[in-house]
Amino acid sequence: MELYISTIKEFIQKGEIVDTIIDNLHLIHDNKDSREYVINRISDFLNTLQDDLTILVETEYVDKVYRDSYYTLYSTKLREYYRNCVRISFFTPEFNEQTEITVENIEKIKNAYRGFLVLRPLAECCIGRNVISPSAKNKRYPSMRICKASIPSTCMGIKMRVSGFPHSSQDGEMMSCAETTVWSILEYFGNKYSEYRPVMPSDILAALKPFAYERQLPSGGLSFEQISSALKNQGFGCKVYEQTNPMFQELFTCYIESGIPLAVCIQTKEFGHAVVCVGRNETNRTVIDSAGTINIMGGNYYVWNNSIEHFIFNDDNYPSYQHTTFKKPTAYYNSKDWDSGKITHFIVPLHPKVYLDGELAIKASNYLAIRKLNIPEMSVIRTFLASNRTYREYIMRNPDMTEEAKLVYLQIDMPKFVWVTEISDKKSFLNNKVNCLILLDATGSNIDNEGYSSLLFYQKRDVGTFFNKKNRWFENIPLSLPSLFEAFNDNLK
């Protein structure tokens, strides 16, 4: 293995580092045009990053994902594909050619780390596994709020972590866009939660074997149903939504606000494509004005989940974190072929114990807000799913809650996930504050014809409504709870 240090700028300006990388990739064909093609692919990726970033190039890198594809497919071919990859690690300029690799500098190097990119020895599809911190993207990218997992890696013997969403380009034979979508979602959850595990491409093939009526290799893509089956096979309780659902975009936003990455099906006139929606643009709360109000049960209300139009997608044909709108999900292709692309379905990889889905949670909380809490018209409603742990931490750290109030909230019985509806008057909403709160039990359900079985708690001004286990009914208790407190913003980072 050899190590080289350079900068993105040097690569873009076709410096010495370019030939070093291409030579060490050991592509199956070596000619001027093949090299140029690969250089352009890498340049397209690097051009999305800040050009003053330092790059550390590591040759003969063993990438677990490519190695799995290699032994499943590429090693079985007559032409000799190379087993190893090249890895590029990215650092802020604080780490540069002059930085000495000493124990004293370990923390400095760790702090400068912004992610990595594995280059596969495949000309057409050289962009392999990568995780990039959004802060490394250049000014053409907006500020974003996305689902982030802390992904471990090592570089020069230093254990590093990068916070971002896993991405890879498809290799076309082992993984199409559909398998890449499944892989990246599982890579995200597997690195973030102990209940899940990251999977290799061959695991995805094995999981889908019972559903395949045709050979699986080379991959000809998957149906959206098969993507859902592959995710279900890894322990998710998937929910699929389709474009004719009247709440389609509202639900899409609601799940993104819940910090859940979505497998998204895009159909053009000619073909289908799968991408992952990983978050949204940083959005000013005044956006509710442009979206306007919506009539719910006879009254007009602002709905945050109907106000968001700009989302961040990981598309395996492009570098990570492409920003576009819900209505034009393929706008960044700037191509006639892709112009007609629209979102027709999305899959939500829910925790298997989330029985109450977004559609019913929104409807139940709307009923409670309007009929029980009698919220005034023109209020702003914001519904999302939160884990018990994250929500309790938010309560614990809330600057507007007294110690007494925090103890009250913290002792409400909650399952692993809760549906939260924050209701604010417009002025409070713009100041990131909440006036009324509804908590629903995500393990609840309406199947037993007990609408109230999902209700955990609601609060109007300083009065809380709690479930009394002894009486098996709810009680309104005026406990001087805060009537204006900071909103929850911890699902997207």
Partner: protein
């Protein structure tokens, strides 16, 4: 050992009036949720039947 005060104990300590939540809308809420669940099932059926036709290759 110290037990943190619960909301019920706090209500007793503060001598506030605890009122059972009005249950007059139980039937209305159940019907509302039943209707919502029926609509959700229809949406699910449509989503599942069309998901097999969406073939993703690019």
């Amino acid at each position: 050992m110290k037990k943190f005060i619960s909301f019920n104990e706090l209500a007793t300590q503060k001598k506030v009036q605890v009122i059972p939540m009005d249950s007059s809308d139980v039937k209305e809420f159940n019907l509302y949720m039943k209707k919502a669940a029926r609509e959700s099932s229809k949406n699910s059926q449509r989503a599942n039947s069309t998901a097999s036709n969406a073939y993703l290759t690019r």
